[in-house]
């Protein structure tokens, strides 16, 4: 993991101090709500449906045991609503439920005292009062964490694929480059008030596991014929109302030019991106509208940065060496804990198959703990669980864990000999469901239970599907399926890239859901990044599990032996799936009953 320097440590402390100063001036009336808004967003503080939400950055997903313990402490001591507030919030949710007879699914009660892992490797808390916000930022700074630019129209938390530095197909470990980019982008004076948010993802492996096609800037590590390291740079990908896949703007950028080139892209965007319409303000709209001219503008700007400005942000070998030194293989020793697991049993074997991945070091494995389980929303971890995770990481993985894009937590340095003991410990925590990559390993945003942007709830849908598909024989038979759901068109749940996507929409104050088919995040399983296609008019919440069942039934009926859902869908086309989905609508009399 990256080791903070004295400068880095002081920087996050001062950022927390600055935020405290801003909050105090706001409380005294010296800063208006409008002025505070972007300032608090730039520190990760939203005001949601019932309470503030804090979004804490976990840069490229890497988190230490000490940091997990601090998140557990914050969940336990600070993620606590006032009883009256909670009662009001639950009553409001109950009214929403009661207003839609026959259309909804059972709604899990609102929960508190936990952190939520997001698709962009942030951790969110939903109930911390704004009066405690500055104290929480001080605590986070004490373990080298922060919420810098986790929201706002700026360069957001930077992500990498989860298996950087450990995957067998890793070309270049991009974590050092992501860290260098994180530092460069932090409190950038020119790029703090962009037209809209700006997200950068790195992928250092052959397989794109970072969804780089879907990012404002997607950076893919490559080696040229001479063996030199560089990057293919894509720009203009994004989800939202207008899903667009990024365009390659540079096939091979030498590694040391990364910051100069990103500066060129972001400057062109800052100058020419649309600011008249929020829905047209992302860089994807500019790239699409301008086409080749955008690329020409970026190249011209890059040339000026190099030739006129003297390329001041050229990454030096010394700096790369310094940062890379933080990402070497840690000191490893097996835990050698006893275990009574039947390693020949089917459950264990299934866990090995789905949740354990090969490693570039032959005696090691990468183990994913599944946060897709009955009774919890996808990606939720309560205080006790995070405390236990800290210990698991300490015992089995050199005190390091990684949040994944799919809202799970992965231990990157597990000895093969420790797998049975780790399995036993994970099972005791309810984190050993062997479902990674399968239907129930779904992605979901917090939706209408918490988010003020949401048009519909996603957690009740996630809960219904999780409960319905608890038969592991069935889930294994269905094979790998990406099920992604978002509570609104902002697409935090990445519905566009799901093989099956679910999108919450609002019609006359009621919750409805659009279903899409055939999306891809860009992995080998799913093929080149692609947005899914809508199957037809939207469905009620109660119909959604029936629609999923109908889609899966169609797959089972039409598949060739060994063929995956996405491949059957692509081979036979969407029509039979569409027909099945639309056939699963309730008749009017059923709804009335």
């Amino acid at each position: 993991m990256y080791q903070y320097t004295d400068f880095d440590r002081q920087f996050v402390r001062l950022r927390a101090e600055q935020f405290r100063d801003q909050l105090e001036r706001w409380q005294r009336g010296e800063l208006s709500d409008d002025e505070l808004l972007p300032l608090r967003l730039q520190n990760g503080w939203y005001i949601q449906r019932y309470a503030p939400m804090a979004r804490i950055a976990v840069p490229y997903g890497e988190i230490s045991s000490a940091q997990l313990r601090m998140l557990a402490h914050i969940a336990r001591e600070y993620d606590k609503p006032d009883p009256a507030l909670l009662a009001h919030a639950q009553a409001t949710q109950d009214e929403l439920q009661a207003a839609q007879p026959g259309l909804t699914l059972a709604a899990p009660p609102l929960r508190y005292g936990y952190g939520h892992f997001t698709t962009r490797t942030n951790v969110q808390f939903n109930w911390i009062p704004i009066t405690k916000a500055a104290d929480v930022m001080d605590l986070l700074a004490s373990v080298c964490m922060h919420g810098i630019q986790t929201s706002g129209n700026d360069i957001r938390n930077i992500t990498c694929e989860a298996y950087e530095g450990i995957a067998e197909d890793n070309i270049v470990d991009t974590r050092p480059f992501a860290e260098i980019t994180r530092q460069w982008s932090s409190l950038h004076p020119e790029f703090t008030f962009l037209p809209r948010k700006f997200k950068i993802a790195y992928n250092g492996s052959v397989e794109d596991r970072a969804a780089t096609g879907w990012y404002d800037i997607g950076v893919q590590a490559v080696r040229n014929d001479a063996g030199e390291v560089g990057f293919t740079v894509k720009a203009g990908g994004g989800m939202g109302r207008t899903p667009i896949i990024g365009t390659v703007v540079r096939e091979f950028l030498p590694w040391d030019q990364l910051l100069n080139y990103i500066e060129a892209i972001v400057r062109v965007y800052n100058r020419y991106g649309r600011r008249d319409n929020k829905w047209k303000a992302r860089i994807k709209i500019l790239v699409k509208a301008e086409g080749q001219k955008f690329i020409d503008d970026v190249e011209a700007e890059y040339k000026d940065i190099v030739e006129l400005d003297g390329a001041p942000h050229t990454i030096t070998q010394a700096e790369l060496d310094r940062v890379q030194a933080s990402f070497v293989v840690p000191e490893l020793k097996p835990a050698n804990l006893p275990s009574s697991v039947n390693t020949d049993g089917q459950l264990y074997q299934r866990w090995l198959k789905q949740n354990v991945r090969g490693h570039r070091l032959p005696h090691l494995r990468a183990v994913t703990l599944s946060f897709k389980r009955v009774g919890f929303a996808p990606g939720d971890a309560d205080a006790d669980t995070m405390e236990a995770l800290a210990q698991l990481a300490e015992q089995f993985s050199a005190s390091e864990a990684r949040l994944t894009h799919e809202q799970n937590l992965m231990l990157p340095w597990v000895h093969e000999s420790d797998l049975p003991a780790l399995y036993e410990a994970a099972r005791a925590l309810g984190l050993a469901q062997p479902n990674i990559g399968l239907l129930t390993d779904m992605i979901a945003c917090p939706g209408g239970d918490f988010c003020s942007l949401a048009n519909a709830r996603s957690l009740s849908i996630a809960a219904a599907i999780t409960e319905r598909y608890q038969d592991l024989d069935e889930v294994f038979d269905l094979g790998p399926i990406d099920l992604h759901m978002s509570g609104c068109i902002n697409s935090c749940g990445h519905h566009h890239s799901g093989h099956i996507g679910i999108l919450g929409v609002d019609k006359d104050g009621k919750e409805w859901y659009q279903i899409t088919l055939g999306g891809s995040d860009g992995t080998e399983l799913s093929g080149p990044a692609l947005g899914g296609k809508v199957v037809g008019p939207s469905f009620s919440a109660a119909e959604v599990p029936e629609v999923i069942e109908a889609l899966l039934g169609t797959y089972r009926a039409l598949r060739k032996p060994g063929e995956f859902f996405i491949d059957t869908l692509r081979r036979v086309g969407h029509d039979p799936f569409k027909a099945a989905a639309n056939g699963a609508r309730f008749k009017a009399e059923e709804v009335a009953a």
Binding site: L31, L187, P189, E190
Partner: protein, 135 residues
Amino acid sequence: MKQTLRILSAEQHAGESGADEGLKVLQLPNDADPLAADLDLEGVDRIELQFPKFTDGRAYSQAIMLRRRRRFAGDIRATGDVFVDLLVHMQRSGFSSAVLREGVDASAAQRQFERYAGFYQGDVEQKEPLFAREH
């Protein structure tokens, strides 16, 4: 960092229209291209850049381009929706003066400049990024 940015009230700014002092002042809208061939900066003493809303950050890029690419050495002034939390960004982007929006309390300005010992990325004042200066 040392505060070099001159902070003006709206009144002070109104009293410095330039006409009395014989200054040549250029007002540039925030969608203007600072590198345009027909933008003549000869003899210009001050360029006023605009923040119609503080969330519209185009003028930061303009200021940087005026300093770095046009080597403009005169006064660059931030006008419009300006308050104290933006001033450090402005100085780092090449502004040399800023007019606080009417009603903004300037007392909190000084400590914004004193807070950070340094920044990661280079800027107009400090061209090199941290990694090229240290380590």
